[in-house]
């Protein structure tokens, strides 16, 4: 291993395998039984609890914490899974400081919430570590539902439908199920192949068939009408497969890639040391994807990693907690700056930014500029829906649904990030998948 953090350009092996293993270890390991007991004892068992109201999947948080406090963690796990079958992943990736923990009444009391996320992980890990699947499938109904997309929305929908006895086929364009959980979040949030293990655990319900490498509308695979012809109902949960462009000259230069691609590549890498990373890395954007890409670039051994966001830090979609993770790992955050030009001969070498300011009509560019050296540039400025069958009404790039997840088209439901109701959160996608499944079930029961 001759490379180091100082090695110029893009190269592998910047850090030793030991250092990499250390860097990519579980960022928030499971609580021990004692830690869980102490944490659970802090819960006040609030009436109409604000934490539960803040949870998109409406998990009965006071109840599951009381179940932990009374030494029945498996019962706690079931309380969670009853509302959110992906409760294990949500415990790892939810921005709890903006959701349940942000609403915890102890925030006002002491500025320190009950550790709901970690308690949820404690309870769900325990149930998932058992060999059995805790739910049983109802008698087969003979009805079939196709689910497009094996991400959080599709998985939650499929599990709920399968539990009610329907036959479900999930189609996913990638070679592996899991969607964002498998390809789109920082590795240290779901270590040891948790996303795949969760899919396998969930599939144990039975009645779900997984079809991988199948993309809606792709020649040879099939389109929506094909799927509708062979199913009683369809759920669209394919997420956002496209990415927004910088719309800058030179954007096509080498080593400017979507942050989502970098994250997916890293998540699927069998050997992190072999993964090349630049010495100077620039990430453009301010969401969780930007942070996940930047932090992981740093952890791979990049010397300088800079997130550049066009607005102020307070406006960043990434939570304050996520920003803290980035800063604590040595990522620099430059706020109020927008890319102006990409400089390089063939491959990117520098990126020129101009500072921005808030004006009466929104963000204004100023004349003040600066350049950052960049061996690599990861763009994380939003994702877009891929090609959609025209028969489903799309507005503003997202599928329109009603409260129950119904699209404009009969027998077609949708949920998660591909819809207007999505908000880039695993937990919201799970809620929509689950609720659509309930509505589909009602629909099938009538028919």
């Amino acid at each position: 291993m001759s490379n180091s953090q100082l090695t110029e350009g893009i190269c592998a092996n910047r850090l030793s395998p030991d250092a990499l293993a250390q860097n990519f270890t579980d960022i928030a390991p499971s609580l021990t039984a004692h830690e869980a007991q102490v944490a659970a004892d802090r819960c006040y068992f609030c009436h109409d609890a604000p934490c539960q109201t803040a949870c998109p999947t409406d998990i009965d948080i006071p109840l599951f914490i009381r179940q932990i406090a009374t030494q029945t963690p498996d019962a706690a796990g079931m309380t969670i899974f009853d509302s959110n079958i992906l409760g294990g992943m949500c415990a790892r990736v939810c921005p709890t400081e903006n959701l349940c923990e942000g609403a915890c009444v102890r925030m006002k009391a002491e500025g320190k919430p009950v550790e709901i996320g970690r308690l949820q992980r404690f309870a769900t890990d325990g149930v998932m570590a058992r060999q059995d699947h805790p739910y049983t499938r109802a008698a087969a109904t003979g009805r079939t539902v196709s689910v497009i997309g094996a991400g959080p929305a599709g998985l939650a929908c499929a599990h709920r439908l399968a539990m009610k006895g329907h036959s479900v086929t999930i189609y996913d364009a990638r070679p592996k199920a899991g969607g964002l959980n498998e390809f789109g979040i920082a590795s240290y949030k779901a270590v040891e192949g948790f996303a795949a293990a969760e899919v396998a655990w969930l599939m144990q319900i039975g009645g779900i068939k997984m079809v991988e490498n199948w993309q809606l509308g792709r020649a040879g695979d099939g389109d929506l009408s094909d799927i509708l012809a062979q199913s009683d109902a369809v759920f669209l949960g394919m997420g956002l497969s496209g990415v927004n462009a910088l719309r800058l000259k030179g954007e096509d230069k080498d080593n400017i890639i979507p942050a989502t691609n970098f994250i997916a590549q890293l998540r699927q890498a069998s050997d992190l040391a072999a993964l090349p990373i630049g010495r100077d890395v620039v990430v453009i954007g301010g969401g969780m994807t930007a942070v996940d890409a930047a932090v992981q670039a740093k952890l791979l051994g990049a010397l300088n990693v800079t997130i550049v966001y066009r607005r102020g830090r307070d406006a960043m979609p990434a939570s304050a907690h996520e920003q803290e993770i980035a800063l604590s790992r040595g990522v620099r955050i430059i706020e109020h700056a927008a890319p102006k030009a990409i400089i390089g001969n063939g491959a990117v070498r520098h990126i020129e930014f101009c500072y921005t300011k808030n004006g009466p009509d929104g963000l204004e560019m100023t004349d003040a500029t600066f350049r950052l050296p960049a061996d690599q540039c990861f763009t994380a400025i939003g994702q877009t829906l891929g090609d959609m069958p025209e028969i489903v009404i799309v507005k503003g790039g997202k599928i329109i649904t009603d409260g129950a997840g119904r699209t404009s088209m009969a027998r077609v439901w949708a949920g998660g990030d591909c819809t207007h109701a999505g908000d880039d959160l695993t937990v919201t996608a799970v809620a929509q998948g689950r609720d659509a499944a309930e509505d589909i079930h009602l629909f099938l029961a009538k028919g």
Partner: protein
Amino acid sequence: MADLTSNFLGIKSPNPFWLASAPPTDKEYNVRRAFEAGWGGVVWKTLGAEGPPVVNVNGPRYGVVYGADRRVLGLNNIELITDRPLEVNLQEMTSVKRDYPDRALIASIMVPCEEEAWKAILPRVEETRADGIELNFGCPHGMAERGMGSAVGQVPEYIEMVTRWCKHYTRMPVIVKLTPNITDIRAPAQAAKRGGADAVSLINTINSITSVDLDNFAPQPTIDGKGSHGGYCGPAVKPIALNMVAEIARDPATAGLPISGIGGVTTWRDAAEFLALGASNVQVCTAAMTYGFKIVQEMISGLSDYMDKKGFTSVDQISGRAVPNTTDWQYLNLNYVTKAQINEDDCIKCGRCYAACEDTSHQAIAVSSDRVYSVKDEECVACNLCVDVCPVDCISMRELALGEVDQRTGTPVAGYGNWTSHPNNPSSQAAQ
């Protein structure tokens, strides 16, 4: 720093905090460490008669009841009196008293209910130069099966008889330790006084089973698959102890009889409460067993701080101060009206007051869509449950002024009036 000097039956100690007769005071090593830590006195672990000492179980001796974060709220024990030879204990007591002449050293004694047994042991205890004796009529487990401990304490005639023997055979002050495992604590206290006791100490432990092993279906602590009832102590028993102390303090038959307060004293505040209800000093056990001897330092500084703030210059000034305000229900002012009020600024919106009131009380708390909780004066009976369950103490009780209309009853607050003269009281009406 207030003067905490205590004079109990002429027994002087630098503070009113004594260690109760219990495992912490079983031997010289512990007692010396206790005195070094600052304890004002020690009641030595109960001595038995000459001869082969009792034996203890060799499995767990204690069971526990926890609060949040495994905080010890109650402890139960099945340990018997000292299991070391009488002679060893007496030698060690002599040695300790010689080295700590300013501290109180009391011998706790439990021998068979026979005059000869007491007559035999008392002179030997006197030789140690102990300051007094405490008659253990309290332990509810083990020894009671042999006719001692609470088996004596539950029969006032025995208490009186043994107390009289002791007063006859020794010049040392006699403290009678009472068991709470009776229906009316005043009867044994009166018996002790009739027998000539210089003081009573209470409470001893309460008969209890702390928990059941739900795998093996046996009470805990479990000894080879079986469990037995034991004596319960610790913070959980304090309310029971306070009531019993107050009962004796305000009973005309025993008023003025010095009391050593025991039962769940954990902080200086607990101690002050026992004093206020009539105790002259306190004895501590579970708190020391939970946290070690050092806790006495907080008790000393806390009581001193409190006395300084209140302007008390001696512990005696606290002693009994709440007794005149301890009365029977029938004398409580039924025309006194308060209403709960919630401090919205301090409220953290947990809603526990609402759940408690709505589900189990008088539906007197309203909640708005943005979780602002308020009291419905027209429903509030001032039960205090909301105050009790509030985790941040943001609810208080507002006293209605004389003449102010109670929104619940529609009547103005009247002057003092109790049940004895209330129109709904049949006795009251009969008297008219």
